[in-house]
């Protein structure tokens, strides 16, 4: 039997339904965190920042560097020392990605905005930055996979519907949800969040009302970067690997998730990410692992055929407190 034939294997899905669902939620929450960066920037600037996947990759490298360079961790930790380590690493990677996103905005996008460059220029710039960052990582750290030290022993935490749920999946899922609720509330309730929403609704009017557009754009990139950094850290906990082009695939998936949920829509990114994560696991079970990506993108196409603006619609601006 050649596995290039498309054979639908229902029993693989049905037998391990909950295992696939749990894995899908874990990986989906990482997609959702990255997707927020796409969504925020799109909502404010109508720009797809394709270099966002490299911001995520830099987060992974920052954690890997912190594990081996700063903290010099050589064996899995436990207890309080583990909690402190995790926090330190989370802050490191969030800071690294946040700063990288700010620098990217300042160096690459703001000059274009100042000149009122066409949107296509910004898109090409994004691809250019992406290549620059990837090659930098490749030249600096090599092209083969890096295997950072494991931070804690992965073990089953509890059993859910007959499936063991391991601690890393729970950690990633819960932490991602907490961060996303935090962001949602920040944009909805804070003064800075109001600035973001105002700019997303109508940049010109917002400016007339005294909103500093440059600051709003910087804040938007910063928020996207912070979340991508967190996603990078969770990705590292989950897969314990880093590679110079590691951001590409999750980046594309996250972009898909953002579009699926409705790009520009924060809750849409969360929904899109989780849905995409689950869908691709089901697809992989049904058709085999090599069809994971095909299935994910097929879902996207189908959803867009029925609802072109995504499941929840494009609405960063319309989000009201």
């Amino acid at each position: 039997m050649s596995s290039r034939e498309l054979a639908i294997n229902f029993s693989a899905l049905v037998d391990d339904f909950w295992a696939h669902t749990i894995d899908g939620l874990a990986v989906g929450s990482i997609y959702a965190l990255i997707a927020l960066g796409y969504t925020l920037v799109y909502g404010v600037l109508r720009l797809i920042n394709f270099a966002h996947s490299e911001i995520f990759a830099l987060g992974i490298y920052a954690s890997a560097f912190a594990i081996h360079g700063m903290l010099d961790i050589t064996e899995p930790r436990a207890g309080l020392s583990l909690v402190l380590t995790l926090l330190a690493l989370l802050i490191t990677s969030m800071a690294a990605s946040g700063i990288a996103a700010l620098v990217m905005e300042r160096v690459a996008y703001r000059p274009l905005r100042r000149r009122n460059a066409p949107r296509l220029t910004a898109l090409i710039t994004a691809i250019g930055i992406s290549l620059v960052v990837q090659e930098f990582l490749a030249l600096r750290y090599g092209r083969s996979r890096l295997n950072p030290q494991r931070l804690f022993e992965k073990e089953s935490l509890f059993t859910f519907l007959g499936e063991e749920v391991s601690n890393d999946k729970v950690l990633v899922f819960v932490a991602a949800i907490v961060l996303m609720i935090g962001l949602d509330q920040f944009v909805r309730r804070s003064r800075l969040g109001r600035g973001i929403r105002a700019t997303a609704q109508d940049a010109e009017t917002a400016q007339l009302m005294g909103v500093d557009i440059d600051r709003v754009v910087m804040l938007t990139f910063l928020l996207g970067g912070l979340l991508a950094g967190a996603a990078g850290f969770f990705f590292l906990i989950f897969y314990e690997a880093a590679r110079f082009n590691i951001g590409f695939l999750p980046g594309i998936k996250a972009f898909t998730a953002a579009v699926l949920g409705g790009i520009g829509n924060i809750r849409g990114a969360l929904l899109g990410g989780l849905l995409l994560g689950i869908m691709e696991k089901y697809g992989a079970a049904l058709f085999g692992g090599q069809w994971t990506d095909v299935f994910a993108f097929m879902v996207l196409v189908l959803v867009l055929l029925v609802r072109p603006s995504g499941l929840l619609g494009e609405s960063l601006g319309r989000t009201r407190a």
Binding site: A12, K281, A285, G289
Partner: protein, 397 residues
């Protein structure tokens, strides 16, 4: 390499001084031959052809270094012959190989080549080598069809069994030694991985009583193999065979172990690299890797162990996959040169039809008429205490 660079600089310096002399006075420098009257040292070159940079660089460097050990030992032992190992970097890329081939084919001082390293690049340059009458001994190209690229060709030789033999050897090992009742197969969808795991191994296992309970593919560009892992987990096989390369093998072994799959992890030559052990971490322990090559470690008995020590001394690290084969391939060419075959035609005729090469330490090396090695046995290694240790040779089963 350092050596040849030094020679080149010396040659340039000599040339410059000659030029200076020539400017002053015409007659003296007319004939300065490189032959010296007494204690004559004959100089010859052989070439390493394969990747030294790019994605596959690590594999190529282990082969180059195996050849270097052979050449350095040879030069140490022979006062009257000095052999230089020239290096030609193809990046393992079949598209670049012909361009690089022009360099060594046109360099008449090169008598034979160790390599090309990969099957694809070998395929690309074999017609050129054949035309030039240049003998090649590959230490690592295992595609089962290479001997037929140039029908009736004489250049092609290799010192290890091909991919078809590897599946045969694995079947022998599985049916007579490990004896799992159920086996899950995972592959990376590559020509090599799927070819070996599905087209060869699974096909040959039919009717042996070993039941294949799952066949799953993973995407090597992704880090997430959980779909395959879940299927393997619920199939609960005695052993898992992975067809693919070491990075993915490491990740897969780790993710399987993390999900509580205790099946014996088996993979083939693509996974025989320390990168597998680094990637899998503790999950690598007990994994079994097959290879048509015979990996040398300092713990290996006899000549293999001596080679590993010598390699450690000269190169500064442990030998890797195909280092032993490169050492054998190089020694075959060197023995031919000692034997007085100091032009391309002579060396080609010498290698052609060699049987039971005395210098070979990896295995019995006898060339069939088409350049393949006669022996079909493969070797199995097991990860023990974070290193590969010899497990068994299928010829002994």
């Amino acid at each position: 390499m350092k050596h040849s660079k030094f020679l080149r600089i010396a040659a340039v310096a000599a040339g410059l001084s000659m030029l200076a002399a020539a400017c002053g006075d015409d007659d003296d420098s007319a004939t300065t031959d490189d032959t010296e009257p007494s204690g004559e040292v004959a100089e010859y070159s052989i070439a390493y052809v394969g990747p030294l940079t790019g994605d596959a660089a690590n594999l190529g460097i282990f082969i180059r270094d195996g050849a270097r050990v052979a050449v350095e030992e040879f030069n140490e032992a022979n006062d009257d012959i000095e052999v230089t190992l020239e290096e030609f970097d193809t990046q393992g890329d079949p598209a670049q190989a012909p361009t690089v081939a022009a360099d060594y084919v046109n360099d008449e001082s090169i008598l034979g080549i160790v390599g090309p390293a990969f099957s694809g690049e070998t395929k690309a340059v074999l017609p050129t080598l054949e035309q030039a009458g240049l003998v090649m001994v590959s230490a690592s190209a295992t595609n089962a069809e290479l001997q037929d690229v140039v029908p009736g060709g004489k250049s092609f030789h290799r010192v290890l069994a091909n991919d078809a033999a590897q599946a045969k050897g694995l079947v022998k090992y599985l049916t007579t030694s490990l004896k799992p009742t159920t086996l899950a197969i995972v592959h990376d969808n590559s020509e090599y991985g799927q070819g070996l795991a599905v087209n060869q191994l699974a096909a040959q296992l039919a009717g042996t009583g070993i039941e294949i309970v799952a066949t799953e593919a993973i995407d090597p560009d992704s880090e997430d193999y959980s779909a395959a892992v879940n299927v393997v987990k619920s199939a609960a096989p005695d052993a898992v065979f992975f067809g693919g390369y070491y990075e993915e093998a490491g990740t897969l072994a780790k993710q399987l172990k993390d999900e509580g799959v205790e099946a014996t992890f088996i993979a083939a030559d693509g996974a025989l690299d320390v990168g597998f052990i680094e990637g899998a971490g503790a999950a690598a322990e007990g994994a079994q890797i097959s290879c048509p090559c015979n990996l040398a470690t300092e713990a290996s008995p006899g000549a293999l162990g001596e080679f590993a020590t010598s390699y450690q001394d000269i190169i500064g690290n442990e030998p890797g996959t195909y280092s032993t084969e490169a050492y054998d391939a190089t020694n075959i060419l060197l023995a031919g040169i000692t034997d007085g075959n100091t032009d391309r035609a002579g060396l080609l005729a010498y290698v052609e039809g060699l049987t039971d090469v005395a210098e070979a330490i990896s295995k019995t090396v006898s060339f069939a008429e088409n350049g393949n090695i006669e022996a079909e046995g493969i070797f199995l290694f097991e990860v023990k205490d974070g290193a590969f240790a010899p497990l068994v040779a299928t010829d002994d089963l």
